[in-house]
């Protein structure tokens, strides 16, 4: 997860012009880092490319909108990286 976090943090810093030192595993992409939905598309594109995956953003959005999970599940970076690791593992399986 640590290398995943380093990659994701680097992507966010570069894509959203946020100082790298402000980005931690506990950061919430929206509430703490102020990433809006358009910038998050850029982040998602870079993550998809970097890890060779297709993050199911539509499913995640639906899960949040239906109250199944809070936004923390997908937007707190530690959780996001865990989800990325699961997608990478599922792809390799």
């Amino acid at each position: 997860m640590s290398s995943t976090f380093e990659t994701v943090a680097g992507i966010i810093a570069e894509t959203c012009d946020i100082p790298r030192e402000k980005i931690t595993p506990d950061s919430h992409a929206i509430n703490d880092l102020g990433i809006d939905s358009l910038d998050f598309l850029d982040v998602a594109f870079a993550i998809d490319k970097a890890f060779g995956i297709k993050m199911p953003l539509e499913q995640w959005t639906q899960d949040v909108n239906e109250g199944k999970v809070s936004t923390d599940e997908y937007f707190v970076l530690g959780n996001l990286c865990a989800n990325i690791d699961r997608l990478v593992a599922a792809k390799a399986a």
Binding site: L38, L41, D42, A44, F45, D48, K49, K54, M55, P56, L57, E58, Q59, T61
Partner: protein, 156 residues
């Protein structure tokens, strides 16, 4: 092209949803109210309409890849380069290549050429969402047939 109706693509001449590529012919009209203002005595196709042309060309590709089950809406234009003036009557070839079919978004590399010379290029991002209503989907299918999107790519 019918600029005042935002009909930028005249005809899809090559479309391969499997290879994620599309090519279209677009002929700039000899006359349009747009040229009365842009610019008086010196008519030029506005750069924003060159970007729109690339966005629509890539949009047809995304629609075909998704078999018209979802609609791409322009969300972002990155590094647009307008490399040459485009004038009334000029014949353009627009191309797009899908870079990524994401979840709820898509990214294409678009370009426009004329006489073999590139006149514009950009990376274009779309939000890809369910059609907001049946009217729009029916209109898009009608327009797809007008610009010669193959029938096989119109349905899932």
């Amino acid at each position: 092209m019918r600029l005042e109706y935002f009909q930028m693509v005249d005809r899809i001449v090559a479309l391969d949803p499997g290879a994620w590529t599309v090519r279209a012919d677009c002929v700039v009209p000899d006359a349009s109210p747009v040229f009365e203002g842009h610019f008086p005595g010196h008519p030029l196709l506005p750069g924003v309409l060159m970007i729109e042309t690339m966005a629509q060309t890539g949009g047809w590709l995304v629609l075909a890849v998704l078999r018209f089950q979802r609609m791409p809406f322009l969300a972002k234009v990155k590094e647009a380069k307008l490399r040459a003036f485009v004038v009334p009557g000029q014949v353009l070839q627009a191309e797009a290549r899908l870079l990524h079919d994401g979840s709820g978004y898509a990214v294409v590399a678009g370009s426009i050429s004329s006489d073999g010379k590139k006149v514009a290029d950009a990376e274009i991002t779309y939000r890809v969402v369910p059609f907001p209503n049946d009217t729009l989907r029916a209109q898009m299918l009608d327009t797809a047939r007008r610009v010669a999107v193959p029938e096989a790519f119109l349905h899932g």
